[in-house]
Symmetry: C2
Subunit: 372 residues, 2 copies
């Protein structure tokens, strides 16, 4: 049996939303779930005990970053990523593919893999399916991701077709390369851009490999939201119902709702942590830009409906002061709030599915939130 | 009775070290004590619950910074500094004097006070004894400091004498201006540079005002350590035994030991928090510069004798990785350790005084610590 398995708990009767559980070697994850991102073996500005306390069940970390710094061999010697970063719950690592493709002029793609120069010191490296899995095996994450190519938007059909077919060939090499199948589960990634038949082709090819889970890649890459939702609609249908489905790189509340409604189980995004450091909070009444003068003498909490550490103890006036003073505590408190907000939102979505009122819950939330 | 009082618990038989207790409206403080600095209403990179958990009994905050940003009236409207920053233990605020004097060309001293330009936006302001106390009254700190002039080192006798005499005149105006004597206790500050007779003169003048506590200012301003210790020796003798004695702005372990040995009760310094953000830890074996290549594969704790959150959970290799990656968690974990280290050190000093073995404890510590 695979190290990671999916258990279906309940289906919503009016949408494709589903309540499930993903079992991993580091505990079970109630789904749908949002995974905070800890790029460089740390969820930025958070102590791991805080991240646990707010109910995070799994975090994501980045192969590209850890390969370059501190180097995966050091993490291996440290006893693996869980021990290195003091996180005893589940970890998912991406493959590094997305990061090296994003390097633009600094990288060259061949059938073998991607040659690139480090964004830190310009040194030359090669990331291939085998190398990515070798690094992820050294990290020891519970879920490891296939080394894929994420086509940009827009991209012509020929490019996308070539790219998805290479992604399938690379996936086979990844599966072959995974030395720790019994405790590290490889997820395949569907590509195919905004072309329905190519999405279908990609799905059939990767599902054929009978992997423990599947991700939908190549969305939220610049396409309009309605196109993304339309593509997502049929993508989910092409994936097996008995495996977890992971939509990569989305984290704003509307994406999460629309993803869950279409049957997605897992999400990740740097959005909540990144905007926190830039002084923006997600709240039940929409986004709050803390530096705005309106908050100068506002002694109420960020979010009247939130019971996170930040909202229980601090006013907008104080948070604004911290942000304007470039205090580290500003990033700490806003990150705490934003992560708590999304984790709590997912918990409420799960409850709504259990009570078969997911679409009502979504409507209520949208009415209060306003513009996304 | 004053809002702040001193209770003597035990005197060391072989030195002037003393174990005491300072009672404040926000709890009692076991002395000798080190006060972490929270310049802008936050101990940098720390949540207040962390600062409490490690045993901090009182923190220091800065009048100059809070006057400029967010503005003391906002803190007053927030319900005072304790509530604004979510800290329910004691707070001491400095007078802003030291900061405005440090502005160099940006300030002009008159008998009235100091005219200066903000380091933030260049705007023009005036800080006087009355204004400093008005600001500190708005902040609501338990211990408020007199607006004094800290003479530089070296400084000629005439300058120092004029300066200390103005400090006394300003102290009288501060005492007059304090509207909250029943819950905010004004401490006077002794000046006089490195001149014994001037220190004596300053002490006599300020002790005459029968204030609830006294600080020794104008030390650790660039003079050699042996001169500082010599001056400190007689300064303490000029201060009343039934009031707390506070040596301003020192925080390295040797200063703390030498101060306690000479009868000082209270200390503050940005040192532990500032060097933490720069990647340096204070440990029982001396300073550790975390970025050093020697720590790349060092999977042991920062300090083998420390039981702080950082030392319990992380290796030097991980801390080095965080620091080199410019991760906020680096500042958080090293600050946590350094503050814990000093707070724990003071707790051990108190125990040593209780057991009448302060000098032995000092000797043991110095032997292990090496170079300061």
């Amino acid at each position: 049996m695979a190290a990671v398995t999916y258990e279906l708990i309940k289906k919503d009767s009016k949408s494709k939303a589903r309540r499930g559980r993903v079992h991993t070697p580091h505990g079970s994850i109630e789904t749908p779930v949002f995974m905070p991102v800890g790029t460089a073996a740390t969820v930025k500005a958070m102590r791991p005990d805080e991240v646990k306390e707010m109910g995070a069940q799994i975090i994501l970390s980045n192969t590209y970053h850890l390969y370059l710094r501190p180097g995966h061999e050091i993490v291996r010697e440290a006893g693996g990523l869980h021990k290195f970063m003091n996180w005893d719950r589940a970890i998912l690592t991406d493959s590094g593919g997305f990061q090296v493709f994003s390097l633009g002029d600094l990288r060259k793609i061949t059938e073998e893999g991607v040659e690139f120069r480090s964004h830190i010191d310009g040194s030359k490296h090669m990331l291939s399916p085998e190398k990515s899995i070798e690094v992820q095996n050294a990290l020891g994450s519970d879920i490891i991701m296939a080394f894929d190519e994420c086509a940009p938007y827009p991209a012509d059909r020929g490019y996308v077709k070539n790219s998805l077919e290479r992604t399938t060939r690379w996936l086979k090499r990844c599966k072959e390369a995974n030395k720790n199948e019994d405790f590290q589960s490889l997820f395949g990634i569907m590509q195919g851009g905004m072309y329905q038949d190519l999405r279908y082709q990609s799905a059939m090819e990767i599902v054929d490999l009978d992997l423990p889970g599947y991700a939908i890649g190549g969305l939220s890459v610049g396409e309009p939201k309605d196109i993304m939702y339309e593509v997502l609609d049929y993508c989910v249908d092409y994936l097996p119902a008995d495996k977890p489905r992971y939509l990569m790189g989305v984290g704003s509340p509307d994406y999460l709702f629309e993803g869950v409604e279409r049957g997605v189980d897992m999400f990740d995004c740097v959005l909540p942590t990144r905007i926190a450091r830039n002084g923006t909070a997600m709240t039940s009444r929409g986004r709050v830009v803390i530096k705005n003068a309106a908050h100068e003498r506002d002694f109420t909490a960020l979010d009247p409906e939130c019971d996170c550490y930040t909202c229980r103890n601090y006013s907008k006036a104080y948070l604004r002061h911290l942000f304007k003073s470039n205090e580290i505590l500003s990033s700490m408190l806003l990150t705490n709030h934003n992560l708590h907000f999304l984790i709590n939102l997912m918990s409420n979505m799960r409850k709504a599915i259990e009570e078969d009122r997911f679409l009502e819950f979504k409507r209520e939330f949208y009415n209060k939130y306003g513009k996304f």
